[in-house]
Amino acid sequence: MFPELNNLLNTTPDRAEQGKLTLLCDAKTDGSFLVHHFLSFYLKANCKVCFVALIQSFSHYNIVGQKLGVSLTAARECGQLVFLEGLKSSVDVFFRAQAEPHPLQFLREADAGNLQPLYEFVREALKPADDGQAAWRCPVLLVDDLSVLLSLGMGAVAVLDFIHYCRAAVCWEQKGNIVALVHDSGDAEDEENDILLNGLSHQSHLILRAEGLATGFCRDVHGQLKILWRTPSQPAAHRDRSLTYQYKIQDKSVSFFAKGMSPAIL
């Protein structure tokens, strides 16, 4: 996790909030550093994490996680982390017919079905232990990323339904959190993606949006992060609080600064 981002969001692993949906989105840049942040944050906060990693392999997250101070292999072995590796599982699902329904079953199907097997997998992974003892603080579902599901044949409505079911099971029933990454296609006119992004934006409590600079590539400022706090239950009650910072990604951390205050310029 990045300590500077924790300060901006006003949280620490000890005081993590519960029952929240956090939406990460990126436009014209790569927002995966936010996924690494939340993964290490919740592992350090002693939460049980179910990570649906559809875009990169386990070793990628593990190596970056080690730079941020968590070991994914240790977390997986002791049961704190349930990791669904999309790329590796897709090969198994596609080439060999599975006996039981697999979370990525939809890869074999011709029609755009629904994501129920994936929801069942998440629910099974995050259900509380049978003996009633709370070994971990709260369950967390992390998805990287939802836009890939659209590329694999799912409709935007099917993905929104999946998130809705997960919210009911994880956020409301078990007082856990959900963090999901969606790409913003910008001017690529991806209608399905826009529907997904807008639909999730209205349901989220916290939106972190990483954007590339409008002026193009810069070596010292990699992009801009917009943080928006929302209360979905009372949409028009009071103004949502929002902050904008610029950031630079380094080898093991990310530094944030106010717009125009990059250390390279001062």
Binding site: D30, K88, S151
Partner: protein
């Protein structure tokens, strides 16, 4: 400073400036430098210890295994080379001239390094593609011709000991020219064909789509076009049979599989994304790329795909394809455009756009500062230089 630069290429060689200075000092016996560690030998030996597969080297930044794309200028732009297990997507130029050239460079590099090749095409027979590979430029031939090309004349004093800059005498001469076949990345002569004996000794598998069409479909429909399903099964079969993913107990493979897929997405593969904007199976190509990447990540292989993105009507599909690939490079040739007669571009054949570079095992990645890059093709050299309206021409 230059010593540190060459030592930097052998991964993690700390204190090399001190060692090199000590070695140089030891030669002349007039300095008081004390040698701290073992004598620094040729900088490349550090690489040799870590690399066990021919034609690969670990990345300086994160130890990722890299292979050369066949074009040393492109290797430099991509941070040292193409990472094993990833996809390089080339967005074709309008007449598919330079993209098929990059495709051939990639395959030729595989032949030179002894890698296994898998060539898939719906347009040309893979055997014909392999016959047309360019000949490599090795140390022992064509050196004189190459020097004429670049205008780089070897001075007769180059063998004389340097009197003032004696420390630099130990460094290998930095030449942009032809290199021996044990190095990473080679140069090719487009006017000559790859020698027949090299092609015959290389191991390759060909997938020519018109030959693989079978009248009956014995697999359940899953929204991928027939061609893509067949290609995926073929690739998976080769990876498993030859042991590139380590799962076959009989085969212990310590080689790289280079996969080349030509014109993916074109109507010749049975896909209609280049024909209409609202196509029937718009997810066919993206699903193919996803499963392909899954296959690559779990095996010792690297893949180059050329795709006619300028023909794809639906911009959303191009964005999705970019997100599903690791490295994306776009080529734009000046043929037939108004830039051909623009005096700024008169030395160049086209522009090269680096659209995406992956951040593998890392939060950051190597990226060049300048984004306006132009390429020009001479008979024996494909150079990429900083061109464009705002920057002066500086050779990389």
């Amino acid at each position: 400073m230059a010593a540190a630069a060459t030592c930097g290429t052998s991964a993690g060689n700390k204190g090399c400036t001190a060692a090199a200075a000590a070695a140089a000092g030891g030669k002349n016996n007039v300095t008081s430098f004390q040698r701290k560690g073992p004598r620094a030998s040729v900088p490349d030996s550090g690489c040799a210890r870590l690399v066990s597969i021919a034609g690969t080297r670990p990345s300086v930044r994160n130890g990722q295994l890299l292979v050369s794309t066949g074009l040393p200028a492109l290797d430099q732009l991509l941070g040292g080379g193409l990472a094993v297990g990833t996809v390089l997507l080339i967005e074709e130029d309008k007449y598919n001239i330079y993209s098929s050239l990059l495709f051939k460079y990639f395959l030729a590099e595989g032949v030179i390094n002894g890698h296994t090749l898998l060539v898939a095409s719906a347009k040309e027979d893979p055997a014909d593609i392999l016959q047309e590979l360019p000949a490599p430029l090795l140390d022992d031939n064509c050196k004189k011709d190459f020097d004429e090309d670049v205008g780089n004349h070897k001075t007769p004093e180059s063998n004389i000991k340097m009197k003032i800059a004696w420390r630099y005498q130990l460094l290998p001469k930095m030449e942009p020219g032809p290199v021996s076949s044990s190095r990473f990345g080679h140069y090719y002569d487009l006017s000559k064909r790859m020698p027949q004996e090299l092609i015959e000794t290389s191991k390759w598998h060909g997938f020519f789509f018109p030959e693989k069409l079978s009248p009956t479909l014995n697999i359940e429909p899953c929204s991928l076009t027939h061609g893509y399903i067949k290609l995926l099964q073929f690739i998976q079969n080769v990876i498993y049979e030859e042991g590139f993913d380590g799962s076959n107990p009989q085969k212990k493979q310590k080689n790289i599989l280079r996969i080349g897929i030509q014109n993916l997405g074109s109507p010749l593969w049975g896909d209609d994304i280049c024909c209409t904007e609202n196509c029937d199976n718009s997810h066919s190509l993206t699903k193919f790329l996803y499963v392909l990447r899954g296959l690559l990540r779990t095996s010792l292989s690297a893949c180059i795909i050329t795709m006619p993105t300028h023909l794809i009507q639906n911009k959303a599909i191009i964005a999705r394809v970019t997100n599903l690939s690791d490295t994306v490079v776009g080529l734009e040739s000046f043929i037939g455009s108004e830039r051909e007669t623009n005096p700024l571009y008169k030395d160049y054949h086209g522009l090269i756009h680096i659209r995406q570079i992956p951040r593998l095992n890392n939060l950051i990645y190597d990226v060049s500062d300048v984004k306006d890059l132009a390429f020009k093709l001479k008979r024996k050299l494909f150079t990429i230089e900083f061109g464009g309206e705002t920057f002066p021409n500086v050779k990389i």
